[in-house]
Amino acid sequence: MGHNDSGGSEKKSSESANDIQTFNAENLQSNMKVIYYSRTFLAIISGVIAGILGFTGLTGFIFYVLIMAITSLGLVAKAKFSVHSYFDSWNRIILDGFFGGLMSFVLFWTFAYDIVHIF
């Protein structure tokens, strides 16, 4: 039953992908905003954690990439694994907000590291 269900939704999404691309732009904007909020908040939190753990150099950036990968996974799970019914491409859910979050990450990483380990 569950298998049938998923097959049906998959077929529907591929059909609509082949059709003329008409999207509800307002809802797409709202979804992008949700993703942006999630990523910014988690970039700040991961920056604080990296600072407390005392990461320096490349380790911190690897940590950031790891956290963002987990976030992407969580967002895909939040979209109930049918990305194309909420976004027009995979890049939206995987890459969007990555570099903006990196700036917040570095800021809070150095901030937490300074407070915990230097002062």
Binding site: E26, V34, L53, G54
Partner: protein, 106 residues
């Protein structure tokens, strides 16, 4: 929404406590004149717990995803007026173009 926010605030408080514990640990190391090699175990556990709670909050608080397909169930006209029995279609108003546009949900 409210629950997610409370969970996120709790996660941030746990992170703050972990930071405070690490500061104290470093003070202890300074007294014992040892080098800092890594945070103690309970700090790592606290950080993991805080990360999980904050991730929960980050995924639930900002709102739900809305479907972008114009013909999906969520974007349809959801409700007709309740008093259908009293609607009259064959009246003089049909001579005029109707400016009626049904509101879509959201």
């Amino acid at each position: 929404m409210g629950l997610g926010f409370v969970i996120g605030a709790f996660g941030v408080m746990i992170l703050a406590h972990a930071a405070y514990t690490t500061i104290q640990y470093r003070g202890l190391l300074k007294i014992m004149e040892e080098e800092f090699s890594g945070p103690p175990m309970n700090v790592v556990v606290e950080l993991l717990l805080g990360l999980v709670l904050c991730m929960w909050a980050a995924l639930t608080v900002p709102g739900k995803f809305l479907s972008i397909h114009p013909h999906s169930d969520e974007n349809r006209i959801v409700s007709l007026p309740a008093n259908m029995d009293f609607m009259i279609f064959n009246h003089r108003g049909k001579a005029f173009p109707s400016g009626m546009d049904m509101k879509l949900k959201h």
